[in-house]
Symmetry: C2
């Protein structure tokens, strides 16, 4: 029997493979997505394909803060009302959206595009650390807030960066760790609770 008979057509197999390369998409999900696209109107599938192309063609990294932007420098770096003395360092562009939603930070940002992770072979040279140092050496910066995630890799990255930043004469700070608002002491994990006791504050 012809081996091809039992196989899906080449364009189907190829898209399944492409979807499978994306993070968090297993072989079954890749199949499901592909057969879903087979069923949708032609225009819907084209819209997805075009959105992917335009994402790559119409965005660049801001030459100042390394955030994703359509215009370089980005809107935040161009904004005169932002405080140029404070830089908030984050892992990913999405983290900027989270901080902006608080409306409580009015300085500038710097996106590292990852964290130091020896397990995944990501070293400091893979991150936008040199770009951060260059900005601080520029002179106007007084404080760098390390807003990497409060986990092993995030902490290590913050420690690494602060060791390079402190000699440059800037204040290096870290986001407060403690109990999340609305949480329940009973269900807090040990590390978070220990940190909350350690860093207890006067009422």
């Amino acid at each position: 029997m012809n081996e091809q008979l039992g196989a899906a057509p080449a364009p189907v197999t190829r898209l399944i493979e492409e979807f499978h390369r994306l993070p968090g998409i297993g072989p079954k999900s890749a199949q499901r997505l592909t057969y879903h696209l087979l069923r949708v109107p032609h225009g819907d599938a084209v819209a997805l394909a075009q959105a992917i192309i335009e994402l790559k063609e119409r965005t660049v990294l801001c030459s100042v803060c390394q955030n994703v932007t359509e215009d370089d420098p980005c809107a935040i770096c161009r904004d005169d009302r932002r405080d140029r003395a404070v830089i908030c360092v984050v892992e990913e562009p999405l983290d900027i959206l989270a901080v902006e939603r608080t409306r409580g930070f009015h300085g500038l940002y710097h996106v590292l595009h990852g964290v130091i992770s020896p397990m995944e072979g990501i070293g400091p040279e893979d991150l936008k650390v040199n770009e951060l140092l260059a900005r601080v050496r520029g002179g106007a910066v007084q404080e760098v807030i390390m807003a990497t995630n409060p986990n092993l890799e995030g902490e290590a990255t913050a420690m690494y960066a602060s060791r390079l930043l402190t000699p440059l004469g800037v204040r290096v700070t870290r986001l407060a760790r403690g109990l999340p608002m609305g949480s329940d002491l009973e269900y807090a994990d040990d590390v978070t609770l220990s940190r909350a006791i350690e860093n207890r504050q006067d009422v």
Copy 2:
């Protein structure tokens, strides 16, 4: 403050929306996929976009069995060695791959492209039922195996189709239900075990 400042660039937001429209992709996954594509080389993202376009442009439904194919009629329907007297009716193109892998079926197929599901507003007219009836009326078919999934919708669809097919003088069969091979009686669900007892066979 400018409302745009806290928002992601338009191409980013647009791709997040497009991904979010796919089944099983929530808003968080859509964000993750989009920012992943921002990081990959340009060629990788283009490869995904092209695979989507080619899926739509290079595949059609086989005019005989309704399976997805590059050439119409499909390789299985064109194959002279297949038994034209038996049609195996499945819900989705993926089900054909599963049956073909068994190498135990040598007839033809028919893809319904779904099941009757009043909950999701899918009626018989949304399925390729009329195409199946036309094939059976064609005369050469002696048996139709209803290989829809053994769940509520699959059973209802099989019942519906068999009621239309039986008057045409064909034998309508259903895949056997029972304990899956390698399973453990202790953990079998009640319905499966009841069916296995009901349909018990002589050794």
